[in-house]
């Protein structure tokens, strides 16, 4: 549930990048920090890492102010992907308002993807979130590498799933903003009515996505 502070005129969404270890979650945030055309953009806060692996989380704050004076903030988190850090992963996931599942396109990683998604579904249940109602998009990252699953293959596998499916090569920024935009659209559809973003704050979906940094710069 997004946090709405009426006195401060502030609405905060917590968005989480989830996925298997070394799938490119942090890279997504790093590129988004460069590419997002958000009105307000904070620094990427990277907590402890070990040999290139996230131990705790990364945090990228983005936001914008509406004409009506509401500040809308997005706090983008990554989780540590390694199996051992499940407690941390669960704590970061709790209170999430939207999730990007970053999958690794390499053929060798199919099992890891499956297990990580299973883990996401289980942890959502444990922190009291319903996967059916939570804004969720799936990104197949590392399209730049050889020996990856073909797009048709991926689409066929996910044909029964309701979530938007995106392809990215986060290392050179391809698909990163598009993924974020897809998540923003899902977030808008899920929460816009609840907070009367269209009525009281004069927003529409396109404006919301663009101002949050999901549009072209």
């Amino acid at each position: 549930m997004p946090e709405f502070e009426r006195d401060a005129g502030r609405l905060t969404f917590k968005l989480v990048y989830y996925g298997p270890a070394q799938g490119g979650k942090t890279t997504n945030l790093m590129q988004l920090h460069e590419l997002a055309g958000a009105q307000m953009k904070g620094e990427l806060m990277t907590l402890e890492t070990q040999n290139d692996r996230t131990l705790f989380f990364d945090l990228l704050p983005l936001g914008f102010r509406t004409a009506a004076g509401l500040t809308i903030r997005f706090r983008l988190f990554t989780v540590p992907g390694q199996v051992a850090h499940d407690g941390t992963r669960k704590a970061v996931l709790s209170r999430a308002d939207g999730v990007v599942f970053v999958a690794d396109s390499q053929r060798s990683q199919a099992t890891n993807n499956g297990e990580a998604f299973q883990n996401l579904a289980e942890n959502l249940g444990r922190v009291g979130l319903e996967i059916e109602r939570l804004p969720l998009v799936v990104q197949f990252n590392k399209r730049d590498l050889p020996d990856i699953l073909g797009e048709d293959e991926v689409r066929a596998r996910y044909s029964g799933a309701p979530w938007p499916l995106l392809f990215a090569a986060a290392i050179d920024g391809r698909g990163v903003r598009e993924t974020f935009a897809a998540l923003l659209r899902a977030v808008w559809r899920r929460y816009a009515d609840e907070f009367d973003l269209a009525g009281a704050h004069g927003l529409d979906e396109a404006t919301f996505v663009a101002a949050a940094g999901g549009g072209a710069p």
Partner: protein, 396 residues
């Protein structure tokens, strides 16, 4: 769930700087800039009762994420103030990161601990279950053994009953045929006797009397009557035997227990010593769903015990009553009764007071098994006025 207590909550200036540290920070900044420096919170109010800056003072925001958590204020060039603010921000950010990481770590550890505790509880529960199982193993084994024993006896009895039934059915069939032609032959013989009697006038009286044919004719009729009565008795016995073994009805069915007991008593009547009287006192009963052959076996065993108790002469009374949906059958004898020390053991398997070969000690045991299998109860007692009463209770 509110983010208020999570690792990802928003930090205010007060979360990151203690009032004592604020004074020191301001003093250090003042030493750097050469003018007094004030620390303001997000709303622009002097932090921790610090001095209010002059209205003309420059302000530098302290931004951790997107919005300022506070400001530095001093009467000095803004770019110099901004540099000091960056320094201070660096410190604040480090503290914020430390807080986030340690809070996250705590949250994760707590969640893991809760999970471990749950696992521990589950393990404890399963351990307790196994302990209990181990402790009760003996009793359970005994219980199961007893159950198996009981089942075996029932099986044995059922098989015996089945073979008796088959035998009875075979015998009944074999006897019924000759009974049929004996009966019709008797009818013919009676007709022939009539014709022989008609010869009286044709035969010389002397010869007639010499052969004492008057007596012969009369006695012949008597013999035929007696024979017919005998045949009828045989037919009845065969019928009773069939009914008793219930060979025709191997399945559960609704029966009138009174009629059932009548058939049983007809069989028993033939075996009892002459000095023993069997009295009945039946009242109408609701129909009973039962295995008639098995119940007969149970009542036979009880009756046989009662008859043996009054071998030298006495009375056995069979009484039936219905109370609501429950049927009561009591079998009472006015024999010597059962000694108190024997009474609790009469239903034990292979317990017998009779000599070797006279009884298996299974009669009453099987009777009880059968009655229990019909969801009934059986009770044995010796009233003060003497004799023994066996009471059977069966739910209709």
């Amino acid at each position: 769930m509110s983010a208020g207590d999570g690792f990802d909550r928003d930090f205010a200036l007060g979360d990151l700087v203690a009032p004592r540290d604020a004074a020191e920070l301001c003093a250090a900044a003042a030493a750097l800039l050469g003018v007094p420096v004030g620390l303001l919170d997000a709303a622009g109010v002097p932090f921790a009762d610090g001095a209010a800056p002059s209205p003309a003072a420059a302000r530098a925001p302290l931004v951790l994420e997107l919005e300022p958590v506070g400001y530095l204020a001093a009467d000095c060039p803004p770019d110099a103030l901004a540099r000091v603010a960056r320094l201070l921000r660096w410190g604040l950010l480090s503290r914020a990161r430390l807080r986030m990481v340690s809070d996250l770590h705590l949250e994760a550890v707590r969640a893991d601990y809760v999970k471990l505790q749950q696992q521990n509880e589950a393990l404890k529960a399963s351990e307790a279950k196994y302990r209990e199982l181990a402790a009760n193993l003996d009793a359970k084994v005994r219980e199961q053994t007893q159950l198996i024993d009981e089942r075996q006896r029932q099986l044995y009895q059922a098989e015996r009953l089945a073979s008796i039934g088959q035998l009875a059915a075979g015998v009944a069939h074999e006897i019924n045929n000759p009974l049929g032609f004996i009966g019709s032959n008797l009818a013919a013989a009676e007709r022939y006797r009539g014709r022989l009697a008609a010869l009286r006038d044709a035969v010389p009286a002397e010869l007639w009397q010499q052969q004492d044919l008057d007596f012969v004719c009369e006695d012949f009729a008597e013999l035929l009557r007696d024979t017919r009565a005998g045949v009828e008795r045989i037919a009845r016995i065969v019928r009773d035997l069939k009914g008793f073994s219930s060979v025709d009805q191997p399945e559960e069915q609704l029966v009138d227990l009174n009629a059932q007991l009548d058939a049983l008593l007809a069989v028993v009547n033939g075996q009892k010593p002459a000095a023993v009287t069997i009295a009945t006192d039946f009242q109408p009963l609701p129909p009973l769903m039962c295995l008639p052959g098995h119940l007969n076996q149970a009542f036979l065993a009880i009756l046989q015990n009662a008859l043996q108790a009054v071998e030298g002469g006495g009375t056995v009374t069979v009484r039936t009553r219905a109370a609501g949906e429950t049927i009561f059958v009591s079998i009472r004898d006015d024999g010597p009764g059962i000694p108190a020390e024997v009474l609790p053991r009469v239903f034990d398997p292979f317990f017998t007071t009779r000599g070797v070969g006279a009884g298996t000690g299974l009669g009453l045991t099987v009777a009880r098994d059968i009655i229990l299998a019909h969801a009934g109860k059986v009770d044995i007692g010796c009233p003060l006025e003497g004799g023994t009463v066996v009471t059977v209770e069966l739910p209709a």
